[in-house]
């Protein structure tokens, strides 16, 4: 704690550039939250311990910032040297005094009227590097803003939004690069992951997530289906400085709910990709769901953890299985159901769950668990190195999938099927689950009143924070899952919490409803 206070005192006086070295060594400055997941490993764990099990009952709201936006607020704020950077719908971005919530600057992009967002006009946050803030836009541009003023520094076109491309992802800054993955799996785009020079906006590499003719994996697509194969990459990956590898997950093949016409595994949809950070060259891939027909994007944060002397990736996948992968080799170590699943009852030679013959959608409709929204979705999980547990928001919900063929037309929705709530299904249930990654076993679970879209944060104070659909922000005992504090924010949570420190005081922040909330000790 002494180190923390000294560090904060220093940082408040000197505005320092956010260098790549600082991002690599983010553990040395726990008062700052400098990347989407708080560090490169994706753990969303804060080493701050001022707010702890013994005093969390006294936590109070410190400030609220109203964004004025409507819809789902999915942003993860960043905090550096007492300034909080966040986003809201329609590509709003803003910087706030993190002690008071008072804005320093606000930016809102002039979006064209015919953008094609999939699932709300949402954004999950910015990246910071040097003195710049980076934002992916709903019209498929990548832009850089001046961190002190919000002034636009550069603006590059990544793709033509009229064909269904957009960005909702929070970018990842690595070395001198800004890495983004594209959205558009509902429009039959051809997915990609891009890296831009943070100084100029020049594109340094692009990895097409659907391989073209002559490239490995191309044979996993029937005919010309690869051209509209989807495999977007709309959630933020992680980075391993030791091997200079980016781990980035991909989403559904298109059309999302109809496999006919795209026979094959449909690489690299629903996969984890290990990329060389300098070149974007793929070192290995692991495909979670082959030939997906249920919209089970694998776009969950691939969390880097080390256990039993092994360097691992843990990912709670939308398809209902919790995967542990050796991140050195890309080989599967284990896959364990962590929610209600009916689509798979056996595993292949590698140990990967494979679909049974009752999984494919039919014209009359077929009930499958999990449903199209998945056991989890984009909501960020956390790994707490103190409890060695992985915490994730989960839901049990089954849907009836019914085919509805439609032709591909550029820029038009391209699903190929409809899904309905299952008539026979039990009521939907939502949980916060604590999973032991070494065994896949669920250590504890807390049942929410209804399923939530909130991410999860763990802290060194022995706490796990998450929000619910009823508007509560809740602190749990990380060891037992018992709720130990809550505050009613008045709007449902679709975002993930963070922790930060200013002037020696710890704060916890989260977006809910149309606002950003910060909490602290009285």
């Amino acid at each position: 704690m002494v180190l923390f206070l000294a560090c904060v005192a220093f940082a408040n006086e000197v505005y320092a550039q956010v260098t790549f070295e600082r991002l690599v060594n983010s553990a040395k400055e726990p008062q700052n939250w400098m990347t989407y997941s708080g560090d490169y490993s994706g753990k969303r764990f804060s080493a701050l311990d001022q707010i702890k099990l013994s005093n969390v009952q006294t936590v109070v709201p410190k400030w609220v910032y109203q964004t004025g936006a409507t819809g789902k607020l999915e942003t993860t704020p960043l905090v550096v040297e007492g300034i909080l950077y966040a986003t809201a719908q329609d590509n709003r971005a803003f910087a706030l005094d993190a002690r008071t919530g008072r804005p320093l600057w606000m930016y809102q992009r002039q979006l064209p009227g015919d953008i094609r967002p999939c699932c709300g006009r949402v954004n999950r946050g910015v990246a910071i590097l040097g003195d710049k803030i980076f934002l992916g836009t709903l019209d498929a541009h990548v832009i850089a803003l001046d961190a002190k003023t919000g002034n636009l520094l550069w603006d590059v076109v990544a793709a033509d939004y009229r064909t269904g491309y957009s960005f909702t992802v929070s970018p990842l800054a690595v070395k001198n690069l800004v890495v983004v993955g594209v959205s558009g799996g509902e429009y039959g785009v051809r997915g990609f992951i891009d890296a831009y020079d943070s100084a100029t906006g020049e594109r340094k590499w692009r990895l097409w997530t659907v391989p073209g003719p002559g490239e490995p994996g191309h044979e996993s697509w029937e005919g010309d289906s690869w051209k509209v194969g989807g495999a977007p990459a709309w959630n933020t990956g992680t980075y391993d400085p030791a091997t200079n590898q980016i781990f980035w997950p991909t989403g559904n093949p298109a059309p999302s709910n109809r496999g006919e016409g795209r026979a094959g595994d449909n690489l690299y949809s629903n996969s984890l990709l290990a990329l060389n950070a300098d070149t974007g060259k793929m070192n290995w891939y692991f495909q979670y769901t082959k030939h997906d027909e249920h919209d089970w994007d694998a776009t969950q944060v691939p969390v880097m953890i080390d256990a039993n002397g092994k360097h691992l990736i843990a990912q709670a996948d939308r398809n209902g299985f919790f995967y542990v992968i050796d991140r050195t080799t890309g080989k599967l170590i284990s896959a364990t159901a962590y929610g209600k699943t009916t689509w798979s009852d056996k595993k292949d030679a590698e140990g990967r769950p494979v679909a049974n013959n009752q999984a494919s959608p039919t014209l009359a409709g077929r009930t499958v668990c999990p449903g199209a929204l998945g056991t989890t979705n984009f909501m960020a999980p956390t790994y707490d190195p103190q409890t060695s547990l992985f915490y994730v928001t989960a839901r049990d919900q089954c849907d009836t999938f019914s085919t509805a063929p439609q032709p591909y037309e550029a820029g038009h929705a391209y699903y190929g099927s409809a899904y309905f709530p299952s008539e026979e299904a039990e009521p939907y249930q939502g949980f916060l689950k604590a999973i032991d990654p070494t065994t896949g076993q669920i250590k504890w679970k807390f049942e929410h009143t209804s399923p939530t879209w909130s991410g999860v944060l763990s802290t060194a104070g022995g706490l796990v924070f998450s929000g619910d659909a009823e508007g509560n922000f809740i602190a749990f005992d990380a060891a037992s899952g018992k709720p130990v504090w809550h505050f009613q924010m008045g709007g449902a949570v679709y975002a993930a919490p963070i922790a930060f420190g200013v002037a020696g005081k710890e704060y916890v922040a989260i977006a809910a409803g149309s606002a950003i909330y910060a909490f602290g000790l009285p």
Partner: protein, 304 residues
């Protein structure tokens, strides 16, 4: 001008939720259904004046394409064959409550119906909006399915009203046009927004699908009419339905219509049930003919 999320400010109980009507829904249509302030005229409605006819009218191929669009975008509430479901009205009716002309239908699909569960195109937060062409295809499909003349309610409306307020005891718990009880959903609009089959099913099997109550602006799932029994710290038992609930508090209306605002951790016990507070009206309690009369009454009121 662009489409934005629907304003999510509706915080009262939606009218016309039959005590059957709804099962749980996917994200596809839940919170987003509430469309309030969004009656901004979009470029779409400007382009099609009220006397516009469907450019695809009568084209069988368009109607077929519309059937698939309907499955993807509409069937969740209106049923696979447009015959209505637990949530949405039967669109094969010759007379629809909100739309008559093709242009009106286009307007409703584009902008939704404020204060009802009908969302504006592309605003449900999950999935993407339809193009103009796809909307016209859907209208072509609906026209291909609808009856040419209105069907008269089979039952006797005035007898249905007598039963509703009399021997059948419906009004003990349900209001129609401001008269009746509060424990169950207001049924004034139910006849206009639910199918005959859905209403009958909700009377015969009230627990099969619980009715929806409060729909909160940003929340994915609405509150259901769940039955609840609590025992307070001082040993008092309260039985009723949940007006709302979260992990820490519950708001209950008891069987005498008293509201109780309760903190869960202060209760001696708290039990919820998906067994509806409404009794199951089998044919022994309510004959098919009498039920048909009640449906006729509700349909007549709901058509107003």
């Amino acid at each position: 001008m662009f489409r934005e999320h629907p304003s999510r400010t509706l915080n009262h109980r939606l009218p016309g939720r039959a005590n059957s009507a709804v099962t749980r829904l996917t994200m596809l249509t839940v919170t987003p259904m509430i469309v309030l302030t969004m009656i901004m005229l979009s470029r779409v409605t400007l382009a099609f004046a009220s006397d516009e006819r469907n450019p695809l009218a009568g084209d069988a191929k368009s109607a077929k394409a519309g059937e698939y669009q309907f499955r993807i975008n509409c069937a969740l509430c209106h049923g696979l064959g447009a015959h209505g479901g637990g949530r949405g009205p039967d669109l094969t009716r010759a007379h629809k409550k909100h739309t008559h002309s093709d242009a009106e239908m286009f307007q409703v699909i584009s902008n939704g119906i404020p204060g009802t569960a009908m969302p504006a195109n592309g605003t449900n937060g999950q999935g993407v909006g339809m193009t103009d062409k796809e909307i016209w295809q859907i209208i072509a499909y609906i026209r291909s399915q609808e009856l040419k003349a209105p069907s008269k309610p089979a039952g006797n409306t005035s007898h249905g009203k007598e039963l509703f307020y009399g021997d059948a005891n419906c009004s003990l718990c349900h209001m129609v046009e401001g008269k009746g009880g509060r424990l169950g959903p207001d049924l004034t609009a139910v006849g206009g927004s639910r199918t005959r089959e859905a209403i009958i099913d909700s009377v015969r099997n009230p627990s099969r699908r619980l009715a929806w109550g409060l729909t909160e602006a940003t929340k994915e799932f609405p509150q259901e009419y769940q039955s609840v029994t609590v025992v307070t710290a001082d040993g008092k038992q309260i039985k009723g339905v949940t007006l709302n609930e979260d992990s820490f508090s519950v708001q209950v209306m008891d069987t005498t219509e008293q509201i109780h605002l309760l903190e869960k951790d202060k209760l001696r016990s708290f039990e919820k049930s998906r067994q509806s507070a409404m009794p199951k009206y089998g044919p022994d309690l309510l004959s098919d003919k009498d039920l048909e009369d009640i449906v006729a009454y509700l349909t007549t009121v709901g058509a107003k």
